[in-house]
Amino acid sequence: MKYKSVFDIIGPVMIGPSSSHTAGAARIGKMARELFGREPEWANISFYGSFAKTYKGHGTDVAIIGGLMDFETDDVRIIEAKQIAKEKGIRIKIREEESLTDHPNTARIRLGDKDGDIELVGISIGGGKIEIIELNGFELSLTGHHPAILVVHEDRFGAVAAVSTVLAKHKMNIGKMDVSRQDVGKMALMTIEVDQNVEDALLQELKALPEVTQVTKITD
């Protein structure tokens, strides 16, 4: 079931005018910022489908930019997000894409600073609910509904076991786990949804594993 809470239906409290094109967009932006781990210096945003056709009227652009600056869906600063980003020196580029995507409300965001960048694809599925379906070329399904740990690792035997051993040591229960890879034997991404928020000590321990190259957490 895609919708688990009554507050997915009665909610969110948000700045209008569209739950999918405004609130959902803000959440995609916010998730992008969280995955990046800090405020970006620049972001290139591409809109597809209904997003591309109607983003101006729905404020989809300002909502995503607001999300990149960590604004919630009901933060009135969303209305002025473009101006605020400009004042902060965040460079934003927006493109309207013609190509068809599986979901009509799709945005691809590349964001970064002098120390690095990430690229992700988010979809807004209705009522403000979103999913991140691609991260740096890896397929995944991240809803932001649960705390989660994302682990980029070498695609070889023992990697999943090594990570789950660390989680077990910290008494962390795994609610859902996905592994996706680009090519056999190269890099892979583990997406692990857990029940409680993740402490930094655990992240450090995961980072120290020989198979692991990168660890990110998503808080609830």
């Binding site: 079931m1 895609k2 919708y3 688990k4 809470s5 009554v6 507050f7 997915d8 239906i9 009665i10 909610g11 969110p12 409290v13 948000m14 700045i15 209008g16 005018p17 569209s18 739950s19 999918s20 405004t22 609130a23 489908g49 209904s50 056709k53 109607t54 983003y55 101006k56 009227g57 729905h58 404020g59 009901d74 009135v76 209305i79 979901h103 009509p104 409300n105 807004s124 599925i125 209705g126 009522g127 403000g128």
Partner: protein, 295 residues
């Protein structure tokens, strides 16, 4: 966890509970929260809805200038005493309009189930409260009952205009409201399901064709009629009228109609009212381009 309306109604009726009870208990279990926490969160949403209606009834105007002020016009007309369709019905209509006018003006609202359809549930609630005199708790329960039916639609069909057209947004909202009105008025869980079915049947096929892609024309007036539809369907269900097609099958029909709906009629501003000469003219004026250039 209930997966469809039949299970929801059965859970309520076999345990001698209300639909709102079932939704509240499920929320407590899924989110691991106390009853008080769940109620508090919903009360905050109720407060946002009250503030939005109040603001809309004072008169707002959207940035594009396409919408705003109609809620005030309808209220004044009600006061004139000339209303043909009845004070309570028109009050629901004006309050649904009020919320959506605030939404169009980029004001703060609570999505129910979406922002574009946010007027129907609060509009009907704040109208029927004048007749039924509910307690604060009963008003919060109204939102849980609405949410329970919306939950089923969202999981078995869609609540997105881009995926399923306006029937998935205002259609769902109207069905949710009808079910909640029925419970508040003392109807049984089965009657709530009938009210939802009757409402949604009359919203099937409704396309999402917003002029200039803005959540304004025809969205605001579709919320008005969604509220009216919900009120009438609730009355019909309370009178004992039932739907020959069960609620779950109506929801499924809505889903399948949405899947076969052309993309031009699913929130792309390419068909329907958006593609009328006046719709195109308004679009050109709002975004400042010439119609000749845009083939």
């Amino acid at each position: 966890m209930f997966r469809n309306v039949a299970e929801l109604v059965e859970l309520a009726e076999t345990n001698n509970k209300k639909i709102s009870d079932i939704m509240i208990e499920q929320e407590m279990e899924v989110r691991n929260k106390t009853r008080e926490e769940v109620f508090d969160t919903m009360e905050r949403n109720l407060t946002v809805m009250e503030e939005a209606v109040e603001r809309g009834l004072q008169g707002v105007k959207s940035h594009s200038g396409l919408t705003g002020g109609d809620a005030v016009l309808i209220q004044k007309y009600i006061e004139s005493g000339k209303s043909l369709s009845g004070t309570l019905l028109l009050d629901a209509v004006s309050k649904a309009v009020a919320t959506n006018e605030v939404n169009a003006a980029m004001g703060t609202i609570c999505a129910t189930p979406t922002a574009g359809s946010a007027g129907v549930v609060p509009g009907t609630l704040f109208a029927v409260q004048n007749k039924l005199n509910p307690t604060r708790e009963e008003k919060i329960r109204f939102l849980f009952t609405s949410g329970a039916f919306g939950f089923v639609v969202a999981n078995n069909a869609s609540i997105s205009g881009a995926a399923g057209g306006c029937q998935a947004e205002v259609g769902s909202a109207a069905g949710m409201a009808a079910a909640a009105i029925t419970e508040m008025a003392g109807g049984t869980p089965s009657q709530s399901a009938e009210a939802m079915a009757i409402t949604l049947k009359n919203m099937l096929g409704l396309v999402c064709d917003p002029v200039a892609g803005l959540v304004e024309v025809p969205c605001v007036k579709r919320n008005a009629m969604g509220a009216a539809n919900a009120m009438v369907a609730a009355d019909m269900a309370l009178a004992g009228v039932t739907s020959r097609i069960p609620c779950d099958e109506v929801i499924d029909a809505m889903y399948k109609i949405g899947q076969t709906m052309p993309v031009a009629l699913r929130e792309t501003a390419q068909g329907g009212l958006a593609a009328t000469p006046t719709g195109r003219e308004l679009e050109a004026k709002i975004f400042g381009f010439s119609l000749n250039k845009k083939s």
